[in-house]
C-alpha cells in the first residue's frame, strides 16, 4: 500500500511491476531532459540582446530536429513494446481465480479443485480494529500462494468495475459478459492493496481489493478452512 504523502509508485511486488518501474524511470528521464532543453531555449530566446530575426531557412537544423525526435521515440517505443509482450507471455499458472465485480464488493471463486467462493466487502470505518487501514481493509482477503504464477479472470455481474492492485502493476477492467485475463507472480509475501478503478456507482470508492500472499502450506490450510465454513 502507499505510505503517507507518497508521490511515486509503490514498491514492486511482482516482476512485471519492476519492469514497469524501470521503464517509467527511463521515459521520465527522457521527458525531463527534453523539458529542460526546451525551458533553456525559451529563457535564452526571451533574454537575448540579439535582434536579427529574419533567418529564412536552415537545412541542417531542420534535419537534426526531425531525426532526433524520431530516434528518441524509438528509444521509448522499444522498451515499451518489450514490456507489453512480456505481460502477455504464456506463464503456465498454478492457480486460476475468478474475480467478479459487483455493486459494491468483489467476489472471488477458486474453482480449480473444489468450489470455493466468497464475497469481499470493505470493512466500514466504525468497525475497524485499531491499526487497520481506513477504506482499504476487507472482511475476506484473496489469499494466494507466494511466488506462484496466478491467473485471474476478471468480470462483473452488473456494471463496469476494474480490478487493480498497483504494487503488482495489475489493472484489468471488469466488463459484464466478458472474461478478461491477467496474471501475476508475487515476489514477496504480504498484503497488497488495491481499489476499484472504474466508476460504478455510489460506493465505487468503497470496494477495495486485498491480496494476501502466503507460503503454500498456509494457503492450503486457509482454503480448507474456507471450504468448511462455506
Amino acid at each position: 500500500m502507499a505510505h503517507p504523502s507518497q508521490l511515486g509508485f509503490q514498491d514492486a511486488a511482482s516482476p512485471v511491476m519492476e519492469e514497469l518501474l524501470h521503464f517509467h524511470d527511463h521515459a521520465l528521464m527522457i521527458v525531463i531532459l527534453i523539458s529542460t532543453l526546451v525551458l533553456y531555449i525559451i529563457v535564452a530566446m526571451v533574454s537575448t540582446k540579439l535582434t536579427n530575426k529574419y533567418i529564412l531557412d536552415s537545412q541542417e537544423i531542420e534535419i537534426v530536429w526531425t531525426v532526433l525526435p524520431a530516434v528518441i521515440l524509438i528509444l521509448i517505443a522499444l522498451p515499451s513494446l518489450r514490456i507489453l509482450y512480456l505481460m502477455d507471455e504464456i506463464n503456465d499458472p498454478h492457480l486460476t481465480i475468478k474475480a467478479m465485480g459487483h455493486q459494491w464488493y468483489w467476489s472471488y471463486e477458486y474453482t480449480d479443485y473444489e468450489n470455493l467462493g466468497f464475497d469481499s466487502y470493505m470493512i466500514p470505518t466504525q468497525d475497524l480494529l485499531p491499526g487497520q487501514f481506513r477504506l482499504l481493509e476487507t472482511d475476506h482477503r484473496m489469499v494466494v500462494p507466494v511466488e506462484s504464477p496466478i491467473r485471474i479472470l476478471v468480470s462483473a455481474e452488473d456494471v463496469l468495475h476494474s480490478w487493480a492492485v498497483p504494487s503488482m502493476g495489475i489493472k484489468m477492467d471488469a466488463v459484464p459478459g466478458r472474461l478478461n485475463q491477467t496474471a501475476f507472480v508475487t515476489s514477496r509475501p504480504g498484503l497488497f492493496y488495491g481499489q476499484c478503478s472504474e466508476i460504478c456507482g455510489a460506493n465505487h470508492s468503497f470496494m477495495p481489493i486485498v491480496i494476501e500472499a502466503v507460503p503454500l502450506e498456509h494457503f492450503e490450510k486457509w482454503s480448507t478452512v474456507m471450504l468448511q465454513d462455506a
Binding site: D11, T125, G131
Partner: protein, 175 residues
Amino acid sequence: MLTSRALVRGFKIGFWRPLSSTSSLQAVHGKDMSADVLDCTAPQYNNRLDTPLPDVPFVRKLNSEQKQLKDKEKGPWTKLTKDEKIALYRLTHELSFPEMRKGSDEWKSVLGGVFIFLGLSGVLVWWQRVYVFGEVPHTLSEEWVEKQTQRMLDMRVNPIGGFSYYWDYEKKQWK
C-alpha cells in the same frame, strides 16, 4: 428602475462616447477623429530595438519653428548646435535606445497582486477548515496512526525504497 436607467445613461455618456469611433457620434461632437484612428494599411511609427529606422518620422505635422529647423538640416550638419541635433532626433524618433530598454516597475505591482490573491486564497482555505469542514475520521488520531504505522512496518510495506526501508528493525528506530 430609475436609478438603473440613470446609471446606464451615465455609463454611455461618461465611458462609452469618448471611446466610440462611430462616425455619427463624431459628427455630433463636431470632432474630426479620423486623425487619431489608426490606418493599418499606411506605414506606422514604432519604437522597437530591432527596427532602428522606423518607416515614418514620429512628428509629421511640423509647426513653423520645426519647419525652420528642418530647412537648416538641409545645410551642412556641422553648423547645427547640440540642442538642435537633439531636437531633430526627437522629431523623427519618440524614444531613444536607453529609453526603450529601460523597462518599468510594473513587475512590482504584478507580484504584489499575485501575493495578495495567494494570501486571500490562504485565508479562504483556513476559514473553510475552521468553520465549514466537519470532524476528520477517528483513524487520523495519534493513537491510531501509531498503531497503523507499526502495522505497516510489521507487514513490510514498501520495503525496497519506500517506507519500511527507512526503519531499522534491529534498533527499532528510524534510520
